[in-house]
Amino acid sequence: MEHSALQIFKALSFTVWQAFLSMLIALCIGLCASYYAAKKKSLFARFLSSLSAVPLCVPPLLVALGFVLFYGMNGTANRFLVSVFSLKESPLSFLYSFTGIIIAHGFYNFPLVMRTCADVWESLPEEEEQAAALLGASKWRVFRTITLYQLSSSIASSCILVFLYCFFSFIIVLLFGSVGGTTIEVEVYRAARITMDYRYAGILAVIETLTALLIVYVYSIVEGKGKKSTGNKLINRLKTPITTISEKIIAIVLFSLIFLFFLSPFFSIPLKALFTQSSFSSLFSRKGFYSSLYTTVITASSSAFLSVLIGFTFALVCRFLDPYKKSRILRIIPLIPIAVSSIVLGFILIMILNKLHIRSNTAVLVFAQTLLIWPFAYRQIVSHMDRIPLCIDEASSILSPRFFPRITKVYIPLCNRGLVSAFAFCFAISAGDASLPLVLAVPRSETLALFTYRLAGSYRFAEACACGTILMIISMIVFFMGDTLNGTRDR
């Protein structure tokens, strides 16, 4: 079969473009939402924060169905408009287009930006902003010249993750994109799984990975120009109520957008399950559901724990070896696993296991998931660790020359919010992952995410929505427990 460089270039440029625009949407919405989550005392902010888990743990299949259930040709929005305005045709048709892709991707991923930026914004020192205000700077100027600069590291960190998520996205792009459209990941999949042209698959995988690594390199430059390790980690800002007119207007607009393009599609999933007769009762009557639930909790907890351990260790290593963040290599290493396609990684794992004559089991799955998700833990932890002033390191090394007491008495307490947040994120990602369990083909083992896919693949869509709802609830509980442990109640 012939392959042309032009086709590869078209697929690659489309992949990069849709990922970039999706990232911009996630950034705009996420940054605005993080302002309210970090600085304002409101129920809206706490609610948004607890939803951070949802996009990570819900399989993309259900995300796509959620958008279809709400914005599809026969979705809730169109049916409402047709009946209210007595229309002949459904007026909203943006979903099956490029706009549909970037809206679904952007709103699916904005909680990642919101959570990462809000966590850091909450503990930014106020002295610099107050000094600027005293000198006559307007609020916008203070935000543009001080706050954004202080947040640049966490903005870059969350945006690169969103970009890479969208870069490797499969289901949403094919479902909502124009007929015949393709991404580089689809082409890798086709070459590796359908035509088994491994040479071509290898070439595509290299091109894909190099492109992703190039983006990662650009990110490292942006992050390097941002704020270095500084600021006072020991103080959390006081949150104030929403008082000014502009804050209220922006909050209303923001909430409307989030309601329309995030909450409505996502809640369409549990509503579909609730309004379809016996979907939950059928699900709960299946033996496989309970074993999947057990496997999910065990593997997700184990993967999350190991990821936090590795992420924290690597963050410490980077802090000791490169406190002034001069080493680009150290910043890039955690992003390499995310810059590799899961299809490619799956193939590499199968070949390694085969060479080592190892049969897949749950421990292998946990190990493989940890390999992929420890960078997420690292990103969460390092954004908190960066807020610890270097003088704290110096003081602690004077007071205690021994290494481990400093970790347990200084770094862990000061990073505890990052550690808990990292655990919750990694738990959600692991719980929602169906690709690795499938690729590794662990016998007699099933996770909830895989169970959901299997339900959807057997006509049982309402039950699949019910199972996805359970996944969402579990992850939200973990995030909520994490927030409670962190003591993020408004003061």
Binding site: K10, L65, I171, I194, F403, G457, S458
Partner: protein, 344 residues
């Protein structure tokens, strides 16, 4: 600083060692006594799910043969083949289940299967359902591809593939991407069989009427049952599910006079399988009446064993008048050309 670095490196090495030590990874041993009592079957997701035939087959086969049966899901049919190819030099499976008529020659070319004719295959399996003369693959179920029509929609029921190109069906058809889905490839095969070398012209006329080309059957059919479009590519046997579990005749499989492409799913013994004897026992079992009785209500496909009586819900599954097929390589090439054309 030196002792700090040493400490950090020691901790990291210790952690890695602990992970490997406690990982409990089992090494697959060649022809160990335990392994010879086990038959490992690679298959696709829906086969081994709780509502698929897997669990019932395990119970019946283990009782009958004394072997332990282990199903391992590796994705879809194409992934079963690709997984087996990757393990070719050190196969972990004894049997592959889920390779269809499109993949027979690819499986032969890759040399991953050993031909085996199960007991009584000549009498149990009709000739038109056999996948290979040398029994490299043994069929276990089949169905025709068909457009499924929502009878509650306002559009007229199409009568042929050509009918689908009419303006009244604009954005009313859900297909699957042939690059990632078997029914998607099945539809391509169907159009190649009917239109011959003019298949590309047909797809140009069809393009405006396609709402989406879903990456898999699950997303595509999910969109269809959510009411996104009144037509979706699936199997003639799909309506039987809705009759059995939803007690509705709403979804109708359309029969076109020009004939229908079909899919026959097969199973084969892996070349150099660790337990070849057990594999053959499983193959004999798979086409027996006891196993084939499970196919209709758990696979939602037709069994190959002519002795099986179909359940009443299968009255809703119409029979195609003519079975069509095209050369698998030509279909693969056609799918690439079609997707290139559609993307312009």
């Amino acid at each position: 600083m030196k002792s700090l670095r040493t400490t950090i490196i020691t901790v990291l090495l210790f952690s890695l060692a602990a992970v490997f030590f406690f990982s409990g990874c089992s090494r697959s041993s060649k022809a160990s006594p335990e392994r010879l009592k086990e038959v490992v079957v690679y298959t696709y997701d829906s086969f081994i799910s709780e509502w698929g035939p897997g669990p019932a087959l395990i119970e019946a086969f283990e009782k009958q043969s004394g072997y332990t049966l282990t199903f391992v899901s590796v994705g879809d049919g194409g992934q079963v083949l690709s997984h087996a190819v990757l393990e070719k030099d050190n196969p972990q499976a004894d049997v592959l289940v889920g390779l269809d008529n499109q993949l027979v020659e690819e499986a032969r070319k890759r040399g991953i299967l050993t031909a085996y004719k199960p007991l009584h295959a000549d009498t149990l399996i009709p000739e038109h359902l056999r996948l290979a003369d040398d029994w490299l693959l043994t069929p276990y179920d089949w169905s025709n591809f068909a457009l499924i029509y929502d009878t509650q929609s306002s559009v007229r029921e199409p009568l042929s593939l050509e009918d689908l190109t009419k303006e009244e069906y604009a954005k009313k058809i859900i297909l699957m991407d042939p690059r990632t889905s078997t029914p998607g490839l099945g539809f391509v095969s169907w159009t190649v069989s009917v239109f011959g070398d003019n298949y590309l012209d047909y797809w140009k006329r069809l393009k405006p009427n396609i709402l989406t080309m879903a990456p898999g059957w699950d997303t595509g059919y999910g969109l269809f049952t959510s009411g996104e479009a009144p037509l979706v590519i699936s199997y003639t046997t799909s309506p039987a599910y809705h009759v059995e579990y939803e007690d509705t005749l709403r979804y109708k499989a359309l029969i076109f006079a020009e004939g229908h492409a079909y899919q026959i799913e097969g199973a084969g013994v892996v070349n150099n399988a660790l337990n070849e004897k057990g594999a053959k026992a499983f193959m004999d079992f798979l086409i027996s009446k006891e196993a084939q009785d499970l196919i209709p209500l758990l696979q939602w496909m037709y069994p190959v064993n002519s002795e099986v009586i179909l359940p009443p819900s299968f009255d809703a599954a119409p029979k195609a008048g003519k079975n069509l097929s095209a050369d698998p390589q030509k279909v693969l090439d056609a799918s690439q050309k079609i997707m290139n054309m559609l993307s312009q």
